[in-house]
Symmetry: none
DNA sequence: GTGGTCTAGACCACC
DNA sequence: GTGGTCTAGACCACA
């Protein structure tokens, strides 16, 4: 996995985990990869994974069964959505709107680009399905 | 002026300057506030303003007339737009699209919220005009 | 290391780094001396080294692996050459030609002196090789 | 006249004066433009011209006839050449050679570009002659 | 340990 | 007055 360098790696790992939860790849209630395993997979220091997991515990997306490891909360999707939605509307969107306004980018242009983005995502999905066959 | 604390102050100052240029409040070719004056106004160390101005000089948005101060380039708006547009499409937009996709936010909802944002901006403008009466 | 005092120290440090890259002494992809270490070695304030490194990052010659330090880009040599060549042909050479023209110095004389210069450089190289024996 | 912004203006003015002397446009022994007149012509603060003249006096290129103004020395060309040659060989050339060496630019390439430069200068001369007709 | 940011204050050349 | 450079020292988040 490649990391952007304008954002802390642990934040990107947290996003990565949430992604997998929202997309249903990691089902609610199940045990999550151990710190060490994920660290190996992402080629990252375990401490960094730990920070990401800590962060997600503070959001109640993950919880700790003593001695059994970390699990995804039963309402994990809901929790993630809540946090991300709030973040999106409070922090990201105003910035985006300001840019659109000053750079004279119409919402129609955004919508058009978005539909292209969605196409790309759907292709990915199909690709993954075939991979698993 | 208030600064967010999740972004370096000098970056926010640079954005502030670009904003004023894009909105036409600071016309192309004109002299910009001196390092020291802006530092006093923003209650910030002159070095911090200097860093922001340095950055804008490296983008050719500002240029230096020796001994006379810094001036906004004749094609300053164009330069700013170019930089901001690139930044917006490369860095911001993909992130926004991913959020929209995963959080199931439709482009129509975005468009609606945007039109409200624009109303707010227009009110601000009128407010400023009245102030000057 | 000695610094000329008609040029900013941080610029000279940046040149020093580029020199080492172009000469192959510091290979592409490798970690570069930390800000603090180079500051100690050059007997200079860390901020000054930082400025040099900042500049080289803006040229994409250096990049940052968070928490691990700064590394020379894979195409670092190319990037440095591009920047230096442009600088040389746009800024230095016209000045040199004007001097040659007005002072009546022939290109043959230049060529002759250059071959002496190259000899000196080659001796330096051999000297270093012997040092390492 | 346009000034480069990487060199002090008074230095550029001094060069401008030397240029005119070396090219024979301003003959040895003659009175030189007054500080004020040159300042107006170059659209520059008189103090700045003054500094340039001061500098040239320190090189014995100009000298002061009390109450009559500044004059170009009888051996002005020689003095200018001496200073510029020294400067060229001591300061400029080593830098140029280093660049040529590291960027792998051959003296032949330099010679070729120089001959083009000379062509350009000769055209200018003819152009000026015709202007004065 | 790493880079990055900010402040405070001094000093400089230039116009 | 202008920008620009440098130092010293503090503090931070990150790995």
């Amino acid at each position: 996995m490649e990391f952007k360098d304008n954002e802390a790696i642990y934040v990107q790992i947290a996003s990565f985990v949430c992604d997998n939860i929202l997309r249903g790849r990691w089902p609610e209630g199940e045990r999550i990869l151990s710190v060490r395993d994920l660290a190996v997979e992402l080629q990252v220091n375990p401490n960094t994974v730990m920070r990401a997991y800590d962060f997600l515990q503070s959001l109640d997306v993950l919880y700790n069964k003593r001695g059994h490891g970390l699990f995804i909360a039963e309402n994990g999707i809901e929790k993630v959505k809540k946090y991300y939605k709030n973040n999106f509307f409070e922090n990201h969107l105003p910035e985006v709107f300001k840019n659109m306004y000053l750079l004279e980018i119409s919402p129609e242009e955004i919508a058009k680009k978005y539909s292209e983005f969605v196409k790309g995502e759907n292709l990915k999905k199909k690709g993954n399905k075939n991979e698993n066959k």
